[in-house]
Symmetry: C2
């Protein structure tokens, strides 16, 4: 029910997912009447692979997390997360209110043993492929210990999803030199060198997009600002490019000729292809889709959920954490 | 002597500045032999308007600030700042080591009364013009009080330089809602509403490039990461654009046709036109040029120094601060 478009986007994304994966079933959680009506609009032979789980409430996109948590016990979000808790679903995907989703998921599923704070992680495009970045906004005052836990979770995710052994882990900082940074980052660096993680060192803001590391760790305040500033710059560049090509008939012709290149270029940086952030560190898989996602983007978020469920990311985080604790590296 | 190019860039920038401003004299600080040799390469009738002040040492671009401060008492940087201190120069412009420049300027000039920490401020391009952002990296653990001082300094600068009365001031945050953010930001917001500054509220990372406010305030860690991440994204987009147009002969022809538009577009976002950051909050004007600046960019940094000297930014900050203190708004 969540996001800017609700079932209009979720149902077509669900159908394309089922067409791609023959061994998957999906449970659609929300208002049964609305969901059924939306399903009826589509031609699809395998409709029995979509079950509907009714939920009588929805969480507003601007609703405070506390209100959702206390007052919306039958919201689509809550019911979906309950299904994960009860083992009826392997993962939950939502385009709803991020704060409410995180609060509800944390309350219902609880964090993994040894993980104090869940974090938001997603892959961002770089000049060499992609880099997993966390935390992107779940925690605004992370301690050095939290940053180390983020590093471990990011490393496990990158290794499992990309099949890359020993992914490099960097700490986002204001300079690459050892003396730079605030106390939290310096202490996190000290702690990370003691673990078995492939710690790379400090990475500056531009190093993220150079693809210096596989996993980049930061406090949620910093990560959120960096992510949104990046989106802002990309948006501004598109704005000025469009303006430039619309100036007069000559530039418009140039724009028409350049269009296929500009289009294929923006495909490589298409944020829809990167849709789907993981609320990592919970005893269950919860994927957050962008609220404005279209069906293509939402299907990508579902795909991430499938991948993570198959690889059992939460169990592997716990396993790696236990190893570190046993060998007294943490 | 500083930056990637030293006098090769500074001398032509100095000459073009003198050609533009007939009422200005410049003092070139550094190795006299090197500077004279560089000046000799240029045809310019008004060479007497450039004086050379010899300095026997230079600060390395990667040298720790403490080493520059203690061991380089005759560095070009130190001598130039001394000239400001002694009133022989109205402002200092350097493309050298940022940390060393800040430490030296702070040590020699001291902060303004009522200002605890100097900050780095610069104008960044937005979809509506430009926004002054501070702090960009001088302070990695700013308190709420520091953020309020930054807001005041930014507001004075924007008003004086752009002639815009009562510029809007925003706080960079992870969400626009009141409940969002860390404690420092929330406390700074509370304090700012009590001042006579035109406080706008919270601004998210993308809001910076939408030009939501005239002045955007943040901790130096956050500001530095946001700035560098922005540069990284812009660089990545240029990289993929170039790659797209270089794919084959068809795309190359499209690139040739689109070139004038792409070029004029990048002119609008040319970082060289925005070169020159102010080390604000000191008893004197110190402008930091990007280390990689060319002569055009360095001349822009000199131009900022001229503007700020003419408007006497430090004195006006003190005046505004006194008003706030007298009226018990701080």
């Amino acid at each position: 029910m969540g996001g800017d478009h609700g079932p209009q986007v979720v149902i077509p994304a669900a159908i394309s997912t089922l067409q791609r994966h023959s061994d998957i079933e999906l449970i659609l959680v929300g208002d049964e009447a609305i969901i059924s009506a939306e399903i009826a609009k589509h031609q699809f032979n395998d409709k029995h692979r979509m079950k509907i789980q009714h939920a009588s409430q929805t969480v507003g996109m601007d609703e405070p997390p506390s209100s959702a948590l206390r007052g919306k016990k039958d919201s689509s979000m809550r019911v979906a997360i309950n299904l994960v808790k009860e083992g009826q679903a392997a993962a939950c995907v939502s385009a709803g209110n991020t704060g409410a989703l995180m609060a509800t998921a944390r309350f219902v599923l609880k964090t993994l043993p040894g993980i104090e704070r869940p974090a938001i992680i997603t892959a961002l495009p770089t000049m060499r492929g992609h880099t997993y970045v966390l935390d992107l906004g779940a925690n605004v005052d992370s301690t050095a210990e939290h940053l180390v836990q983020f590093a471990l979770m990011g490393s496990v995710l990158a290794e499992l999803i990309d099949g890359k052994p020993n992914p490099t882990v960097g700490l986002l900082n204001v300079g690459a030199e050892e003396i730079k940074g605030n106390e939290r980052v310096k202490e996190a660096a000290r702690l990370l060198t003691k673990t078995d993680l492939n710690y790379y060192g400090y990475v500056e803001g531009d190093g993220l997009y150079h693809g210096e590391v596989d996993v980049l760790v930061c406090d949620g305040f910093v990560g959120n600002v960096a992510l949104k500033a990046s989106e802002g710059v990309a948006h501004m560049i598109r704005h000025y490019l469009r303006q430039g090509f619309n100036r007069n008939w000559l530039t418009k012709i140039a724009g028409l000729i350049a269009y296929p290149v500009l289009k294929s270029f923006s495909k490589e940086l298409d944020p829809r292809a990167f849709n789907g952030a993981n609320l990592i560190g919970l005893q269950g898989i919860v994927i957050k889709s962008h609220g404005g996602a279209d069906a293509f983007a939402f299907a990508n978020a579902i795909n991430i959920a499938i991948l993570e469920a198959r690889k059992d990311v939460p169990k592997n985080i716990t396993k790696h954490l236990e190893t570190l604790l046993e060998e007294q590296m943490l």
